[in-house]
Amino acid sequence: MALIEAKNLSKSYGTIRAVSNISLSVERGEVIGFLGPNGAGKSTTMKLLAGYLQPDQGSARIAGFDVSESPVEAKSKLGYSPEGAPAYGEMTVKEFLHFAATLRGLKDAATRVHETLALCRLSDVAGQTVDTLSKGYRMRVGFAQAIIHDPEVLILDEPTDGLDPNQKHEVRRILAGMAERKAVIVSTHLLEEVEALCTRVILISRGEIRCDETPKSLLARFPGKRMDEIFRHLTT
């Protein structure tokens, strides 16, 4: 069974068609690199998968649960970090993660908070309010709340945006360490990230899927071209 499944998802904002008839399926162990120019519909697709937006047409399933029909069950299997990794700024990192763990109904909330702080290297700033953190730490807090319940499905909207090379490496290291047990979708603008981390590339432009294949086969289709050249070719 595919852990993430979307069938003919469409969504319009007024007269603008943001996502058009998108279908995709992600199995356990796969890491999908979600690529596309700004405004292509990446974030909208992720919001639809996460159940934040309701589709005009089509349906999405997370771990077998329909996002519209059984939202609470679907969301309990999902870790989602929206673009910019929002968090309650006035709470400390520890309080925030504890709140996330409690809302998810984790019995061993305190232990999970402790483990997640350590895994995401946030222990040093655990007592600081989120508002006072640098961007790198903030992004990691967003990542931490998404993995605190060790979900089967992870959807991360630009988790490495604005991080320095070391921090990017760190996020990729944590992701790679847990990827084989999960189905992951990561949106990114970093083409080297796709080659380093992802088992499959889904490229989306003007709300439609332009390609859905492994990075290797994509590169093989355009012999002698680099990833960024292929990206330009497919999206313009």
Partner: protein
């Protein structure tokens, strides 16, 4: 229930993370007491009851309930945390109810801090404590009704300032309905029975029986309906975002 409790606790404690809470509590009590003493001639009246204290509460709630309620949804929108909250395994109704009750509990805290007024009046004379309790209940319900309006205004926008101003205006209209000035104005254009009907939807006309110790079905229904309508409407607006 677990989610509701967690959200209630976070939101309630959230007030005390910013200076707003302390400003709010101070302003509420300073105004509530000084209006009763200096404008309502509470002391000079020589009567041991608190109706002159409660009479100004619609004005206070009209101003302060939107101040406490402005952040309910507007702040979630501004910070982007709405997307987080609604992709956690909680229903919109759990979140909405937790938030609303936290804000109401905060208003109740402000009101509870005026209890020294009860001690004062008990020391000066022999007040009817049942009447006073009834007045407190009425005031709390009046605050809840204003909060319902504030919740709707907060669900409309990502700006707390806009949420506050629109909330205050809406509550302000409900405050002045039923006051003599507006009644006189309306008498010029409307037949007398309509004027008194219009007054019934004002906050003051519904609070008055409570301050006299009368627990009427109509004012009770009025406050609870306004609060519930505001809660329901704001929740639907967030659900259909």
């Amino acid at each position: 229930m677990r989610a509701f409790r967690a959200i209630l606790a976070r939101e309630f404690l959230g007030y005390f993370r910013t200076p707003l809470a302390y400003v709010f509590l101070a302003v509420f009590n300073a105004f509530a007491v000084s209006l009763a003493f200096f404008v309502g001639s509470f002391y000079e009246s020589g009567i041991a009851n608190l109706d002159r204290f409660f009479i100004y509460h619609p004005w206070l709630w009209a101003f302060l309930a939107p101040a406490a309620g402005a952040r309910l949804w507007a702040e979630e929108r501004r910070q982007g945390t709405l997307e987080l909250l609604l992709t956690w395994p909680v229903t919109v109704w759990q979140a909405a109810l937790g938030k609303f009750m936290a804000a109401w509990l905060f208003l109740a805290t402000a009101l509870a801090m005026s209890l020294p007024m009860v001690l004062t009046v008990s020391w000066l004379g022999k007040p009817d404590l049942g009447t006073i309790a009834c007045g407190y209940l009425g005031s709390l319900l009046c605050g809840g009704a204003c909060l319902g309006i504030a919740a709707v205004c907060s669900a409309l926008t990502r700006s707390q300032v806009i949420a506050f101003v629109t909330g205050f205006l809406a509550c302000f209209i409900l405050v002045i309905i039923g006051y003599g000035v507006l009644d006189n104005l309306l008498s010029g254009v409307l037949p007398a029975q309509y004027v008194s009907n219009v007054a019934r939807i004002g906050l003051w006309r519904n609070l008055e029986p409570f301050t006299l110790g009368i627990l009427g079905i109509q004012p009770l229904t009025y406050f609870i309906s306004v609060a519930l309508a505001g809660l329901g409407l704001s929740t639907l607006m967030i659900e259909r975002r």
